[in-house]
């Protein structure tokens, strides 16, 4: 336990957070820049992929999930999985709309 806390302190040094923040700001700039180009319907897919990458960074680094035990990780993965299932089922309904 002591080790893990020590590790957590090292992995979550000030600089690690600042690098993550720079990545998040860069990704925001990319989404805004890409939105100006006409990709048709692909634009929503690109926007959602970038948003997912940003969410992954916030979850793993800012919210320390990277260093949590597997029980907690499984919890969150299952919750996100079922949210995605809900969306998939919804669109299987509406694709014949």
């Amino acid at each position: 336990m002591e080790d893990k806390e020590e590790q957590s302190l090292n992995n979550h040094s000030y600089s690690a957070y600042i690098i993550t923040w720079l990545a998040l700001i860069t990704l925001t700039a990319i989404t805004v820049a890409v939105a100006g180009i006409d990709f048709g319907n692909a634009i929503i897919v690109i926007a959602l992929i970038i948003a997912s990458i940003k969410t992954y960074l916030v979850l793993t680094i800012f919210m320390h999930l990277k260093l949590e035990n597997n029980t907690l990780k499984v919890f969150i993965i299952i919750a996100i999985f079922f949210l995605i299932v809900t969306f998939a089922l919804l669109f299987s309904d509406y694709s014949n709309y």
């Binding site: 979550h12 957070y17 600042i18 923040w21 970038i50 948003a51 940003k54 907690l72 919890f75 809900t86």
Partner: protein, 206 residues
Amino acid sequence: MSLEENTAVHLHKDDKASKLGMWLFLLTELTLFGGLFLMYAVYRFTHQAEFHIAAKSLNTFIGTLNTSILLTSSLTMALSITAIRKGNKNLSLSFQGITIFFGLLFLLNKYFEWSHEINIGNFPGSESLLSKSQGEILFYGLYYVMTGLHALHVIIGMIVIAVMMRFTMKNIINRNDNFKLEAAGLYWHLVDIIWIFLFPLFYLIS
């Protein structure tokens, strides 16, 4: 002595359970916003062109600015936890204060944004909005509900962080016992994640 030992063991266990509890709470937030995102997905699918037209009146610059503000506030929140773990109380307090300040800036932008929309008649139930297409009415309905609920979360987050500042001053949150601050941070980051999705879905579709 034995009492002290017991307390220490108890606190340790408590932290782990608290963390799980906090995450469970965050997952219920996922169902709250998830339902709204589902609604958004359906209406956008059935009213695509009208959503694009409606989004034109939103200010992409303010949206981008607010995204940056919220991301930066997430950074300062994370830094405040590192600071307290390193035993740097004053630095942690400053970071918490800056986080609240960014929250205020976010809300201020939101205020200007909403006032602008209301001035040009884009608010639920207004005559000029009701005369528009069904898709545009739905877009603004979702816009106000989703960004409004999000703003409410920002306000709650700021109040929670203010309470954490008080705890930090009183040394209730300290180098060895700082889960309260971490839980507040988890909440703040969740609010950030919700905005990460709201931003492209409302501001970047015109």
